[in-house]
């Protein structure tokens, strides 16, 4: 079936096709266009040249079952955890009882039961990012775009949330396009890692991770393949990252 | 059912006394009128209120009507309220004391004289008086416009002005009440240029449109006010009028108020005449506040009310 394969073509000879239930990480120096890529796919930025297709349709279509997790949680500060989680269902016009039930279930999966009434400012950064995940996942998207979702968390919280998300994903495989600066994260979570060059963004290299699933982060760290991939990618990127840092902010 | 009316008074000043008496003595009521007096912070907003329809009548300076008539605005005067300019030039006591005699207008040479606002009645009158005494108001004296008579006295106390042109009852308040000033010239008692006598100082105005539709009401108003003017003029009512004035204008200076009422009592007369327009022009033209030619008497005054004025009786 042609909806099994999603055709995504972007920007400066960036040619990328995501398979159903595949987890693809994208790494690249700051400012190389990673976020722009996601915005093209989500239909947030109009495509100037080239073609982007999401489930066979142009991006931004009203029915595209897309989820987007941002680096900053993007929670509405005046809504409590539950009200934030239901927003996509609310916008769709799903009845209150149903949407709240679904949201509560997803919050439980994320380990947030008991915090439904809290405002975003009252919970920790790690919890906020999990609410943001719950909000995206409750809508049951077929493709999840994630733009450095754990980039703003402290290292330990990040480890915890990576573990949780990895477990969830392995149980509910969905297509994921995951942007990160963290090479360890990219390798540990994904099936495939794309390395982008600095502006104008091109795909420099592509690695099949090849670590079997189900994984746990602790195991992965011990695998020679992990360190090997990490080194290889860092080899690709070191020069670009240095350039990116020395450019103006 | 009484006719409700709003009558404006351009400044809260004792020149509106006939209206206050007509209200408090029930003369309006006798005519079937329910009158509310509205005080303003000057002629322009009051005239604006009259034209905008918030007021049916306005107690304001004749000069305002002369100016509006020249600008073809449909405002007309239907009676006189106070015929003489009720003002006085006062001088600070310590300056007067140095003279060692009663001050004269000539003594104002080189002094700073407070007025109410530039181009306003006190300002042009001061200039006129100075000129008649041979003093050039531009070169030989400094005229300082200060909003509000209380501020004039404050400015005098602060040493900012030496003399002031004040309207009633501020003359008596400053001289007899506070004892810090002395009179130089008091037009209310007939001193100074004759121009200030029988000049149509403050008049009752309305719009031509209103008059066309409500002539009977206008007649009732005129009748009530004429009755009040007559009441004020009667010497045996001085005490009662003083009490009414104190209640309306503040009771801090009862002695001064009584003097003010007594000296003004005979200046509240309803009569108008063609010479009044000329006197107003004589006052305004030299100051560039209005240009010749003068508007016709009939464009300013509706003399058809003259029969009602006569109820006041003869004037000496």
């Amino acid at each position: 079936m042609d909806r099994q394969k999603r055709q995504l073509q972007i920007l400066d000879h960036v040619d990328l096709t995501l398979k159903e239930a595949e987890f693809v990480s994208v790494v690249g120096p700051s400012g190389c266009g990673k976020s722009t890529l996601l915005n093209f796919i989500a239909g947030l930025t109009p495509v100037q040249s080239g073609a982007v297709e999401v489930f066979g349709a142009p991006p931004g279509g009203t029915e595209a079952p897309l989820g987007y997790v941002f680096q900053q949680h993007a929670l509405l500060p005046w809504r409590n955890v539950l009200q934030n989680t239901v927003i996509s269902l609310e916008v769709k016009g799903i009845a209150k009882a149903e949407r709240e039930q679904r949201a509560r279930e997803m919050l439980t999966v994320m380990g947030l039961d008991g915090f439904e009434d809290h405002f975003p400012r009252e919970i920790s950064g790690g919890m906020r990012q999990r609410v943001s995940l719950a909000r995206t996942l409750v809508d049951d998207p077929r493709l999840i775009l994630m733009d450095e979702p754990f980039g703003a968390l402290d290292a330990q919280t990040k480890l915890l949330i990576q573990e949780m998300f990895l477990k969830y994903w392995e149980e509910n495989r969905k297509s994921v396009l995951f942007i990160t600066h963290d090479l360890a994260e990219a390798v540990a979570l994904a099936d495939r890692v794309l390395v982008m060059s600095s502006r104008p963004g091109r795909i420099l290299a592509e690695y099949e991770v090849g670590i079997p699933r189900p994984r746990t982060l602790d195991q992965v760290r011990h695998m020679p393949r992990f360190t090997e991939l990490h080194d290889a990618i860092w080899e690709d990127l070191r020069g670009e990252a240095l350039k990116a840092m020395q450019g103006r902010a | 059912q009484d006719t409700k009316l709003n009558i404006g008074v351009s400044v809260k000043s004792i020149f509106g006394l006939p209206l206050v008496v007509a209200r408090d003595k029930g003369f309006f009521k006798e005519e079937g009128l329910d009158v509310t007096l509205e005080y303003f912070s000057g002629g322009p907003p009051a005239t604006a209120a009259l034209m905008g329809g918030s007021l049916q009548f306005l107690n304001g300076a004749l000069e305002n009507n002369v100016k509006t008539a020249k600008a073809n605005q449909p405002i007309v005067t239907i009676m006189n309220i106070q015929s003489n300019y009720a003002g006085a030039i006062i001088l600070r006591k310590e300056i007067a004391d140095k003279l060692g005699r009663a001050p004269k207008v000539e003594d104002l040479k080189g002094l700073k004289i407070g007025t109410l606002s530039r181009g306003g009645f006190t300002d042009v009158s001061t200039r006129y008086i100075l000129k008649t005494a041979g003093i050039d108001p531009e070169k030989d004296a400094t005229l300082v416009p200060i909003r509000g008579a209380d501020r004039q006295l404050a400015a005098g106390k602060a040493g900012e002005i030496d003399a002031a042109m004040v309207t009633e009852p501020w003359g008596p308040i400053a001289v007899e009440g506070l004892g810090e000033w002395v009179y130089v010239l008091n037009t209310t008692v007939g001193q100074g240029p004759v121009l200030f006598q029988d000049m149509g100082y403050v008049v009752l105005q309305t719009t031509r449109d209103y008059l066309a539709k409500n002539r009977p009401v206008a007649e009732k108003v005129v009748r009530a006010i004429v009755k009040a003017q007559k009441f004020i003029a009667d010497p045996k009512n001085v005490e009662e009028v003083t009490q009414i004035a104190l209640k309306e204008y503040g009771d801090s200076q009862p002695k001064a108020m009584r003097i003010s009422v007594e000296t003004q009592a005979k200046t509240y007369v309803p009569y108008m005449n063609e010479a009044m327009i000329g006197k107003t022009m004589d006052l305004l033209v030299p100051n560039g506040l209005i240009k010749e030619p003068a508007p016709a008497y009939k464009d300013v005054v509706d003399a058809s009310f003259e029969p009602l004025w006569k109820a006041y009786g003869p004037v000496k």
């Binding site: 009203t62 993007a74 | 209380d150």
Partner: protein, 258 residues
Amino acid sequence: MMDQDSARQVTILKVVLLVVIVGGWELSARFGLIPVFWTSSPSLIAVAFWESLKENEITYHTYITMQEALAGLAAGAVVGVMLGLVLGVSRVLGAALEPFVIAMNSLPRVALAPLIVMFVGIGFASKFLLAFSLVVVPIMLNTYEGIKAADPQLINMMRVIHAKRYQVFYKVLLPNCVPWIFSALRVSISFAIIGAIVGEFISARAGIGYMIDSAAGAFDTTGMIMPLIVLMVLAFSIDRAFVATSNRLLRWRDEALS
């Protein structure tokens, strides 16, 4: 952040300051250091207040002024918020209108008294309009700022979940403005009162401005200052109540007003 200790110090200092100001004024007046005729004194003011209270005068005039001010504030808030929202939603229009609005707002309203009286008459309307004209622009500009300050990421989030434009408006832009509107409302309280009083100076039969004007005409400094102080206390209490209410309503915010 302030610890309990400093908080107590502040409270004590406030009381001390109040005592010094009021006491210093009273004593200077008693010992003739300042002329009572022009500056009155706290005890004279207190007596005048008590007299006025007994005759129900100050209460009545305060009621009138507050009525004008609050009506102007309410109308200014409604219109200002609506205009601000329109400008904020249509950014081009907003950016184009902004300089005109600011220029208009820098005019001294008192100078326009004849125009106001001509078009809206005297009575309630003119005071209302002055209060309104002083508050509508700040409220409008703040609402506009509130819309502009909305986090673009929140709007992106709404677009990703296919929210309609009106949903973005009601669920993101509008709530985002609320703290901005509240802070504009707070400063507008005293603007509205000043507007009402200036209106009363042009022409009035009642209100604090009328009391002050009458007292000025009667050479009564105590009578001028007393209503001003009542007004000051009132404005201050309203401000406190407003801050308390807004901190309750906006408890989702990081920072509270103080």
